[in-house]
C-alpha cells in the first residue's frame, strides 16, 4: 500500500512536470477540484479524487477535449470550511475554468459566496438540498438530494403499512440533513415518528438509544449515517434482539457496510445509487453501460470497489467535459452549457439541468436494495 502510494505520488509529480512541459506547447484546460481527501470526510474525498483523476487521465489519453489537454488541480479541504475557502480562492486565482466538489455540504456552502462573486462554475459533489435550492446561477450539483432517498424509503414503508417509525441519525452534516428531510416529509406520507434520536460520529455503542427505541413499539427503524456508525447500530440491534425492520441511508451503500456489520446486516434495506447493483440491472437500463465501465475502470486503477461517492465526481467531470465540448472552455460558456444538459446518463442517475433546476435528478436516481446472503439484491 505504501509503495503504491509512493508510486502514485511519483507519477503525479511526473504528471505535473509533464503537464508543465505541455503547457508551453498548447494551453491546457485547468479544472479545479476541492475534495476532503483527508479528515473525517475522507471516505467521500478519496474516491472522489480518484474518480476525477481517472476521468481526466482518460480524457487526456484520448487526446483531450477539443484537442486541449485537461489539467486537474486537486486541493484537500479536510472537510474544514476555512480550508475550503482558502483552497477555492487559490483555484480561482490560478485561473481554473470550473471547480468540481467540494465533498461536504458545509464546505460547499462555504465556497458558494466566493464562486458566485468570481463567476466560476461549481459542480458540487455533496448532497444538501440547500446547495441548489434556491438556484444559484453558478452552482450545480451531482449528488442526489437527501429527500429523494427519504421519499424512496417512505414509499416502501407506506406500501408495507409500517407507519410508526423511529429515527436514529448521526449528528454530523450528513445525518442532520437526512434528519431534517425525514421529519419534513413524514406528514405527507402519514408516518408518525415515535423517536428522534441521534448519536455522535465517533460513538462506539448505540445500545442505549436502541434500548429506548425498543420500548417505544416502533414498527420500523430508520438510521441515517455513514460508516462505521450504522454497522455498529446493526450489530447493537441484533444484540438487543430488536426485531423491527431496519432501514439505512445511501451513506452506507457499499460492500464495506456488509463487511463491517457481518451477519447483522442481513435483511437491512436502503436506497442506493444504481452503481451498487450495476450487474443486476436490466439490460435496457440507460445507466448500465456507464456504470459497468466506471466499476471496471475503478477496479483496474485503484484495486477497490467504485462506489457512488466516486460516482459523484465522475459525473461532475463528465458533465463538465460535455459542456466544454459543446461551448468551449470559458467560464460563462461552461455555465450556459451545463444548464442545457439533458438526458445525461451518469453514475448517480439521469441528469437534466435547467435554469430552474441545478440538481438535475429525480427519485428514480435511487433504487431500493436489501442485504440477502451477504450481498446486495434489488428490492422490486
Amino acid at each position: 500500500m505504501l509503495t503504491n502510494k509512493l508510486r502514485n505520488l511519483f507519477l503525479s509529480a511526473v504528471c505535473v512536470l509533464a503537464s508543465a512541459a505541455v503547457a508551453t506547447a498548447a494551453p491546457t484546460i485547468k479544472v479545479g477540484a476541492l475534495f476532503a481527501v483527508t479528515g473525517p470526510a475522507s471516505f467521500l474525498g478519496e474516491p472522489e479524487r480518484n474518480s476525477a483523476q481517472m476521468v481526466v487521465n482518460q480524457i487526456n489519453a484520448a487526446g483531450g477535449i477539443r484537442r486541449q489537454k485537461v489539467e486537474l488541480i486537486v486541493m484537500d479541504t479536510q472537510g474544514d470550511a476555512t480550508k475550503a475557502v482558502q483552497a477555492a480562492t487559490r483555484l480561482i486565482k490560478e485561473g481554473v475554468v470550473a471547480i468540481i466538489g467540494p465533498s461536504t455540504t458545509g464546505d460547499t456552502m462555504a465556497v458558494i459566496p466566493l464562486v458566485e462573486r468570481a463567476k466560476v462554475p461549481l459542480i458540487s459533489c455533496s448532497a444538501g438540498a440547500k446547495i441548489t435550492e434556491p438556484v444559484k446561477p453558478w452552482v450545480f450539483k451531482t449528488a442526489q438530494n437527501d429527500y429523494l432517498a427519504v421519499t424512496k424509503i417512505y414509499e416502501h414503508l407506506v406500501k408495507h403499512k409500517l407507519t410508526k417509525v423511529a429515527l436514529l441519525t448521526v449528528s454530523d452534516s450528513f445525518g442532520s440533513s437526512g434528519r431534517e428531510q425525514l421529519k419534513a416529509l413524514a406528514g405527507r406520507y402519514g408516518i408518525t415518528l415515535v423517536a428522534d434520536d441521534t448519536y455522535g460520529p465517533k460513538d462506539t455503542d448505540m445500545t442505549p438509544q436502541l434500548t429506548k427505541i425498543r420500548g417505544l413499539h416502533a414498527q420500523a427503524l430508520i438510521c441515517w449515517g455513514t460508516n462505521p456508525g450504522p454497522a455498529i447500530i446493526a450489530r447493537n440491534a441484533r444484540q438487543l434482539g430488536l426485531s423491527i425492520p431496519l432501514f439505512m441511508s445511501h451513506g452506507v451503500s457499499s460492500k464495506k457496510f456488509i463487511d463491517l456489520a457481518g451477519s447483522a446486516s442481513e435483511g437491512i434495506i436502503l436506497p442506493s445509487g444504481r452503481v451498487l447493483v450495476a450487474d443486476l440491472l436490466p439490460k435496457n437500463d440507460k445507466q448500465k453501460k456507464a456504470l459497468l465501465a466506471f466499476v471496471k475502470e475503478y477496479q483496474k486503477n485503484f484495486k477497490a470497489e467504485g462506489d457512488h461517492f466516486g460516482g459523484h465526481a465522475w459525473d461532475a467531470m463528465m458533465l463538465l467535459k460535455g459542456a466544454i465540448e459543446r461551448g468551449g472552455a470559458s467560464r460563462p460558456a461552461i455555465r450556459a452549457q451545463l444548464e442545457k444538459t439533458r438526458n445525461f446518463a451518469g453514475i448517480g442517475g439521469i441528469f437534466n439541468y435547467s435554469p430552474t433546476d441545478h440538481s438535475g435528478l429525480t427519485k428514480d436516481a435511487f433504487v431500493l436494495v436489501k442485504v440477502k446472503g451477504g450481498d446486495w439484491t434489488l428490492v422490486k
Binding site: 483527508t38 484537500d76 470550511a81 476555512t82 490560478e94 462573486r117 452534516s173 445525518g175 431534517e180
Partner: protein, 323 residues
C-alpha cells in the same frame, strides 16, 4: 526610556510591514491566507495572554471563538442585526460568560484546569451542533452579511485584510502595553508563584479571571470578524482540534511573547499551503515538524533572532579578522 522606545519602534516596524505586505501579495491567493493569519494571530495572542503571561492553560479557547462567530452570525443572518452591533454584542456576552465561569474554573489548577476548559469547549461545541433551529446545526449557518460602512462593503480579500489586520494591530498594541504595565508584572508574578504574588498584595484570583475574560473577548472579536469575512460558519471549525491548534501556535511561536503569537499563527496557517503538494503525506510531515520544532526550539520561533544574531556577529568579526 530606552526599552520603551524599543517597544514602540518594534510595534511601528511590525505595523509598517503589515501595511505594505499586500503590495507583494495582492492579486494572489496568499492574500486570502494572510487574512486568516490575522484572525489566528488575534486568537493566539488571546491564548498567550492567558497561558504565556498568567500561566493558566486553556483547552477550550475555540469555544469563545465559536461563540463570537455564532452570536454574530445568528444575530445578523437570522435577526437582521447590523454586523458592527453584532460584534459588540458578541464581545459583551462572551465577556460576561467568561467572567462568570472564570471564578469556578480558575480556582482549579494544572490538569484540572485543562480538563474543565476542555469540558467547557466540548459542551459549547455540542450546543452549536444541537441547537439546529438557531445555528443550522452541523451543516452550518449561511447568509451572514459582510461588514459595511454606508455603501462600502468589506467583500474582497484586500478590504478584509485591512479590516482584520486593523483589529489585530490594535489588539497587539493593547497587549504590548498591558504586559509592560503593572498588571503585566502582576501576571508574571502569578505565573511564577501564585502564593508569592498574593503575599505581595496582588489580587490573584480577580486578576486571573479578568485576564481570562479579556482573552475570551479578544477571541470573540476574532470570531465575529471570521464570521463576517467567511459569510458561512459551521461547528467543525470550533472543535477541540482547533483549541489544540491554537495551543500549538502559541508554543511554537513562543510562550509569553506578543510577536511570538504572530509567528506561530503565521507558520501554522501558511504551512498547509506549502504542504499541499505532499497530498496525503502532509499529516505525517506536520506531526514530525511539530515534534522536531518543540524538541529543538523549545523557546519558540521568536527566539530565532537571538540565536542567529550572535552567530552572525561572530561571523562578521571573523571576516574582519581575516581581512
Amino acid at each position: 526610556m530606552g526599552t520603551e522606545r524599543n517597544v514602540l519602534l518594534k510595534y511601528l516596524l511590525f505595523s509598517a510591514a503589515v501595511l505594505v505586505a499586500p503590495i507583494f501579495f495582492s492579486g494572489g491567493y496568499l492574500l486570502n491566507v494572510l487574512v486568516f493569519v490575522g484572525i489566528n494571530t488575534m486568537l493566539a495572542l488571546a491564548l498567550n495572554l492567558l497561558l504565556g503571561y498568567a500561566g493558566q492553560i486553556s483547552l477550550g479557547q475555540a469555544a469563545f471563538f465559536g461563540l463570537g462567530s455564532y452570536i454574530s452570525g445568528v444575530a445578523t443572518a437570522n435577526y437582521g442585526m447590523n454586523p458592527w452591533t453584532a460584534l459588540v454584542l458578541a464581545a459583551v456576552v462572551v465577556g460576561v460568560i467568561a467572567f462568570t465561569i472564570g471564578f469556578p474554573i480558575l480556582k482549579l489548577k494544572g490538569h484540572y484546569l485543562a480538563m474543565s476548559t476542555l469540558g467547557f469547549g466540548i459542551i459549547i461545541y455540542i450546543l452549536f451542533n444541537e441547537t439546529i433551529d438557531l445555528t443550522g446545526g452541523p451543516s452550518g449557518l449561511s447568509g451572514i452579511p459582510y461588514f459595511s460602512v454606508g455603501e462600502f462593503q468589506f467583500d474582497s480579500d484586500l478590504k478584509n485584510y485591512f479590516l482584520i489586520w486593523g483589529f489585530a494591530l490594535l489588539m497587539i498594541l493593547f497587549s504590548v502595553n498591558l504586559v509592560n504595565s503593572r498588571i503585566g508584572r502582576a501576571l508574571r508574578a502569578i505565573h511564577d508563584s501564585e502564593v508569592a504574588a498574593r503575599v505581595m498584595g496582588v489580587n490573584a484570583r480577580l486578576l486571573k479571571v479578568q485576564i481570562f475574560a479579556l482573552s475570551a473577548v479578544f477571541s470573540s472579536i476574532a470570531g465575529s470578524l471570521y464570521a463576517h469575512t467567511m459569510t458561512f460558519i459551521s461547528p467543525a471549525s470550533f472543535g477541540f482540534n482547533f483549541s489544540v491548534e491554537l495551543l500549538t501556535m502559541v508554543v511554537i511561536g513562543g510562550l509569553g511573547t506578543v510577536y511570538g503569537s504572530f509567528l506561530g499563527a503565521a507558520l501554522l496557517t501558511l504551512l498547509p499551503e506549502f504542504l499541499r503538494t505532499l497530498q496525503d503525506y502532509d499529516i505525517v510531515f506536520y506531526g514530525l515538524l511539530l515534534v522536531l520544532m518543540t524538541m529543538f526550539m523549545p523557546g519558540g520561533l521568536v527566539r530565532i533572532p537571538s540565536l542567529v544574531l550572535p552567530f552572525l556577529a561572530k561571523f562578521k568579526v571573523r571576516r574582519q579578522g581575516n581581512a
